[in-house]
Symmetry: C2
Subunit: 212 residues, 2 copies
């Protein structure tokens, strides 16, 4: 069905090979965990998906927890890279442009990979303590940036007074929930339109503006 199907017969000897094998295992784990959920999925499932034996999984990862941990970390990094790249290439004259670009990149990222969505939103929560903190981290960085932008806007007199941190958290929460929803139900709205809706909603709210 996917490119994962090619069975790796050759044994990994060089460091590059081993890294590649590790990547294959992470890819298999991503598929399996996204399909069945972390708890329901077994190491045997992952090994089967990766066309490797049960024991080999333990050659590359210490435990099932270690595996999901590494996986979530790598997905988070991918998302962060994607968002940061989008923000860098945004026009710098419009202060809203960077925000819009970041939000768009987020929706595009999740749209292009529904497995990542399930992983980050469903499984990350299903795990206790350690990972929960970890997931909080990915939000936190984003929230700090947004909060800073909001405060700047308030100083400049273009944004209303409001608890900036709470508002920033709300932005992140809304984006996350909508991204998750998109992975489950299709309402025919593409990722960029969705992002634009979010930006509009966050900026102007539901109440009709007087045309001034």
């Amino acid at each position: 069905m996917t490119d994962t199907a090619r069975r790796p017969r050759r044994r990994a000897s060089s460091d590059a090979d081993k890294e590649e094998r590790r990547r294959q295992l992470l890819a298999a784990a991503k598929t399996v965990f996204a399909r069945k959920g972390f708890h329901a999925a077994t190491i045997a499932d992952v090994a089967r998906e990766a066309k490797l034996s049960y024991g080999s999984v333990y050659w590359y990862f210490d435990s099932k927890d270690d595996l999901i941990h590494a996986l979530i970390e790598s997905e988070q990094e991918a998302l962060r890279h994607s968002v940061e790249a989008a923000m860098r290439s945004a026009a710098s004259d419009d202060p809203l442009a960077a925000v819009r670009a970041a939000i768009r990149a987020t929706f595009v990222f999740f749209e292009s990979d529904s497995r990542a969505t399930k992983l980050l939103f469903r499984d990350a929560l299903a795990l206790g303590g350690a990972v929960e903190k970890h997931v909080h981290g990915i939000y936190e960085r984003f929230i700090v940036d947004v909060e800073r932008a909001i405060v700047a806007g308030q100083r400049a007199g273009v944004l209303a007074d409001a608890p900036a941190h709470l508002a920033a958290y709300s932005v992140a929460a809304l984006i996350g929930q909508l991204a998750q929803r998109r992975s489950q139900t299709d309402d025919g709205i593409d990722a960029e339109a969705m992002a634009d809706f979010v930006v509009w909603f966050l900026m102007d709210g539901l109440r009709k503006r007087d045309p001034s």
Copy 2:
């Protein structure tokens, strides 16, 4: 610590007794599941918490799945009742009042019961298919109401044009995420102030309004 501590010695014979015993088991399950999470919690934990024997749990519930299912259903009903009562007693002259009342009631409900929060937001997602649908249900009802209100507001010309369903979903998502956040971190904002912030944010957005 709680009223759950009183050990039930007397055997439940009447229908009322049996219903009470069932309630006790649900209360115990709520405590245990909220503390350890659904997967990590065992039936033995629940039995111990309820001061009943292992086998008795199976006298009242068919399976562990049946138990969590019944529990989530009862929590959802409690939330729905609480919100509906608040809306009924809201002033009917201000169209925003009912919305504000509903949002307040939601935050108050979750604030008064952090176990319910964990249950509905963490465990419900960790479970697969059937329960996921079920949880979707509680949102859906709320969303339909909000959507209707939004459309009415748009007809009356006081709300901006926007995809009403998406906006309604956003409202629900924001409330849910913020309620969940409150159960984890305390930022010294009480439930009603939080609700008022949400209403303001949803209505007016971040951009400063012209004082007209």
